[in-house]
């Protein structure tokens, strides 16, 4: 933290005056920022850079996450990332093609039928190959951490509140599905307690089988209650639209979704040309805008206090995009240090361009307003 920033922070904490605007940052800005970081992570296998990206995400999350249940999900994503690294390395050990010559140990090989020719199970395991697997796993874990950061900074429900009216109903279905999981866990706990009270096994196959039906029954019952409540509160008052209008809009939305998925794949897959991905994503965006315009044209919904998109949002989104652009450029220009050679293994270097862009991506921790609930809780 530079001296001026420290000064600004100190001033802010001692003087929560009228200039200190507490508000939610537009969830879209957080997601753009986080996805920018994720794209950056996908362009490098340098463990130092990947570690820096996770650190940047962690700093921003700890500075700006709300005191709400979803605000505490970041660490869960980190744990999940660690598991992914372990699994990735284990796959490398079991199925990987050996690189390099530093043999660490030898696993018994298994002969596979001819159909699986080319797949090797067991055999020599080299240090280089484990390192390569670990780097790859770390990259996946970093991408996941970026998604986790976005999730804890802006809950999926809030992101959906800012989607256009046409997508809203699909969005609500997603939100209900998302809130279902934690409810199921609560129910499972209750049902298991009841089983214990009746002196029945809680663990093991019989325990699980005995708990499943009451839990699912409860879930079904609750969704019926929720549906009744939503119906009584005016959900689904749709303005009149013709079937043709609805179909065209739906086709456009689905088409844009498909284009977008292929585009994302092309962007993230290092072997495809980036320009193809960019073109695909751009056309997906264009089709989506048309579809959403059509579908939402006569929706009766209005929106309560939509999050404004102001200076902090521009800076946040831009800082994520700058990081993504810098990493993509560095990868195209083959700046040394973006990939870390494993054979022979070398100490990773720190390319200046990438590190500088990550410093920019750290900005949202200071330039964005505090979430409002920090005070009221």
């Amino acid at each position: 933290m530079s001296a001026t920033e420290a000064g600004a922070c100190a001033a802010a904490s001692t003087d929560p005056g009228p200039l200190r605007n507490l508000r939610w940052v537009h969830p879209g800005a957080w997601w753009v920022w986080a996805l920018g970081l994720a794209v950056a992570a996908s362009r490098t296998t340098n463990p130092l850079l990947l570690g820096l990206i996770v650190a940047v995400a962690a700093v921003v999350v700890s500075a700006r996450r709300p005191h709400a249940p979803w605000g505490r999900t970041f660490s869960a994503f980190l744990v999940l990332g660690a598991i992914i690294i372990v699994i990735r390395v284990m796959f490398q050990i079991l199925l990987g093609v050996p690189i390099g010559s530093t043999v660490l140990f030898v696993l018994p090989t298994m002969d596979l039928p001819d159909v699986f020719a080319g797949i090797r199970v067991g055999g020599e395991v080299t240090g280089e190959e484990i390192l390569a697997g670990a780097y790859d796993g770390l990259r996946l874990a970093t991408i996941l951490a970026c998604v986790g950061a976005a999730n804890s900074l802006a809950s999926p429900a809030r992101l959906l509140a800012s989607v256009p009216g046409a997508l809203y109903e699909a969005g609500v279905a997603v939100v209900i599905a998302v809130t279902f999981a934690p409810q199921l866990i609560t129910d499972l706990r209750r049902v298991r307690a009841a089983r214990r009270l009746r002196g029945r096994p809680v663990r093991g196959l019989r325990g699980i089988a005995g708990s499943a039906i009451p839990v699912l029954e409860g879930a079904l019952e609750r969704s019926v209650h929720l549906a009744a409540a939503m119906d009584s509160r005016g959900y689904g008052r749709i303005a009149n639209r013709t079937t043709r209008q609805r179909r065209v809009a739906a086709t456009a939305l689905l088409g844009s979704l498909a284009l977008g998925l292929i585009g994302v794949y092309a962007m993230l897959d290092a072997s495809a040309t980036t320009i193809v991905g960019v073109i695909l994503l751009a056309s997906a965006a264009a089709v989506a805008i048309v579809g959403v315009r059509m579908a939402g044209a006569r929706s009766p919904r209005s929106r309560y206090r939509p999050d404004p998109w102001g200076g902090p949002e521009w800076i946040t989104a831009a800082s994520g995009l700058i990081a993504a652009a810098a990493f993509i450029a560095a990868a195209i220009w083959m700046v040394p240090g973006m990939t870390t050679p494993v054979d022979p293994a070398q100490w990773p270097r720190l390319p200046l361009l990438a590190v500088a862009s990550l410093a920019i991506a750290l900005l949202p921790a200071w330039v964005t307003p505090q979430p409002p609930d920090r005070r009221s809780l």
Binding site: A68, P69, W70, S155, A157, R158, A161, V172, V175, R190, V191, A193, A194, R196, L197, R198, G199, R200, G210, I213, P214, R222, H225, L226, A227, A228, A229, M230, D231, S232, R233, G234, Y235, G236, R237, P300, R301, S302, R303, Y304, R305, P306, P372, D373, S376, L377
Partner: protein
């Protein structure tokens, strides 16, 4: 009627909700749930709907916004007209701007993440302009006292707050009618008062028509302009002014029962009204008291064995990083009925859970009949201690009552037929082939209780057993529990129901924030408490002579002794 009306009747009342010979029959039902209803509720009224469980109160309420039949299915004959709109042509979503409906468990109806978003949700669906939405949300936050909670996640609210948010979330759409299905049955006395005060304010200040179903009459009857009794079984509704209906209604809160005993007319509906006329009764009772200085009520039964059945020493139980129980030490003896009281979230359920070994003690010891409940498994546990949890239907897993009883015998390793015998004792006339879900609430509770009693555990715990029970079923439960007590079991009941405590408990333990703040004989603990005192004690106490009569029946027997 020669009596002057309690509240002046408007000269030309405007009808707000009108039922015209309405009959509702659900699919697969042999007979209509409600039959031939003709009723009008006027603008600005607070109508209280009462009646036994399963009599069709909820169905009646749900016809107001068209959930019946649009959502539930079934057929509705006749017409329901709300503010000039026939529900036949208007499904619930088209009535959302006229009728605000809050279901029994508000948690199941929340759609968004935080209080403020939840308050705006209905308005968003209705397409109300953003400027108007902003203003109404602020007004509603003030009106219901939710300002400090505006950005709180909905999962972090207390019971009373949750109910107020649920009311607020339909109120922002500026409905003319508010329909509340048992708004206070899950709440502690303090939170219930909070919610009812808010409702009363809506009626007085905004002129909203409120239709409210509730079992806890002692909490609501004084606020009602009109009482609608739904007797069930196809019998006609009884409708009238509360004072008139309450004189003869089959179900009545303690204040009314006391009024009937003392012959007060008009019958008082609130503690305040009753105190004003209770001077004679008080004097009479104190005279009786002087004669029988030794008699006390309720008499704690002579416990044959005073050795403790359950002991906890310095018990701490943590949920995550927060202690739900902090240093509780107590003893439980055979023949005792202990009422565990306290706010929602005070640690009552956790304490019961740790008694039966559902929660591990972070520090300290739990001992039940000589062993640590955590170490007990299977039949051993079932024969040592039983708990009827708040969601007691969780205990029931089979598709017929007979199978359920059979399983319970098997679980407890007792001879076949034991549970069925207990059940027929608790609730006669249950067809063993019925699905537990098709039983009435009271019958289902009896079944759960029979399952727990099958192993004859010396200690029986019940968590909020009277939530959603009508007066009849509650009375039957009290009888059953008294009998179990006299058989030498110790009973622990966590409850908010002060009248149940007055009827049943020999000892009251009040928990606050995980600690015991009061522990003693029922009369000593509850009479001095502003929140936990039963109505009879509130009416009969004077500052210098706290009353020892906690229930109308106690008063009756005291007067009977005197004559």
């Amino acid at each position: 009627m020669s009596l002057p009306p309690v509240s002046p009747t408007p000269v030309n009342p405007t009808p707000m909700i009108r039922w015209e010979s309405v009959t509702v029959t659900y699919h697969d039902a042999t007979r209509p749930t409600i039959e031939d209803i003709d009723l009008t509720i006027n603008e600005g009224e607070l109508a209280l709907v009462i009646g036994p469980t399963g009599s069709g109160k909820s169905t009646l309420l749900r016809t107001i916004n068209g959930l019946v039949p649009h959502f539930t299915g079934g057929t509705l004959r006749g017409r329901v007209v709300v503010d000039g709109r026939d529900t036949e042509g208007h499904p619930p979503r088209e009535l959302a701007d006229v009728v605000g409906y809050v279901a029994q468990d508000p948690r199941s109806g929340f759609v968004t993440d935080t209080v403020e978003e939840e308050l705006a949700y209905t308005m968003e669906s209705l397409g109300i302009a953003p400027v108007v939405m902003r203003r109404r949300v602020e007004e509603t936050l003030d009106l219901l006292g939710l300002t400090d909670l505006r950005s709180r996640p909905l999962g972090m609210l207390s019971g009373g707050q949750r109910q107020r948010v649920a009311i607020g979330s339909v109120l922002t759409a500026a409905p003319r009618v508010l329909v509340l299905d048992e708004p206070t049955s899950a709440l502690d006395p303090g939170a219930a008062e909070e919610v009812l005060a808010a409702v009363q304010r809506l009626v007085h200040d905004l002129g909203i028509t409120v239709v409210l179903a509730e079992h806890r009459l002692e909490r609501v009857v004084e606020y009602a302009d009109r009482v609608i009794v739904v007797p069930g079984g196809g019998r006609p509704l009884i409708v009238g002014e509360p004072t008139v209906v309450m004189e003869t209604a089959p179900i009545a809160p303690p204040v009314v029962r006391l009024g009937r005993i003392a012959g007060w007319s008009p019958i008082p509906l609130s503690v305040r009204d009753a105190r004003r006329v209770a001077g004679d009764l008080r004097a009479q009772l104190h005279a009786v008291d002087a004669q029988h200085a030794s008699s006390t009520h309720p008499t704690p039964p002579e416990a044959a064995d005073r050795s403790a059945l359950s002991v906890t020493r310095d018990l701490f139980v943590a949920h995550g990083s927060h202690f739900a129980i902090k240093g509780v030490s107590w003893q439980l003896h055979a023949g005792e009925v202990v009422a565990l009281m306290g706010r929602n979230g005070a640690g009552k359920s956790t304490f019961l859970g740790s008694l039966v070994g559902l929660h591990a003690a972070t520090r300290g010891q739990v001992d039940v009949a000589g062993s640590d409940p955590r170490s007990l498994r299977g039949a051993e546990l079932v024969r040592t201690i039983g708990l009827v949890p708040q969601e007691f239907t969780d205990l029931l897993t089979r598709s017929t009552v007979a199978d359920e009883c059979h399983d319970a015998d098997h679980d407890a390793r007792v001879p076949q037929g034991t549970t069925a015998a207990i059940l027929s004792d608790l609730a006669p006339d249950i067809d063993p082939a019925t699905h537990p879900r098709d039983l009435s609430e009271g019958q289902r509770l009896s079944l759960a209780l029979a399952v727990v009693l099958s192993g004859r555990p010396p200690v029986i715990c019940l968590d909020e057993p009277t939530r959603g029970l009508d007066y009849d079923t509650k009375e039957r439960l009290v009888t059953i529990l008294r009998r179990i007590q006299h058989e030498g079991h110790a009973i622990v009941v966590a409850t908010h129901d002060v009248e149940l405590v007055a009827e049943l408990a020999t000892r009251v333990v009040i928990l606050a924030d995980g600690e015991i703040v009061a522990d003693g004989p029922t009369a000593d603990v509850v009479v001095s408490s502003p929140l936990f005192a039963p109505q009879a004690a509130k009416i009969l106490s004077t500052p210098d002579a706290p009353a020892r009569w906690l229930t109308p029946s106690a008063v009756m027997s005291a007067l009977g002794d005197a004559s």
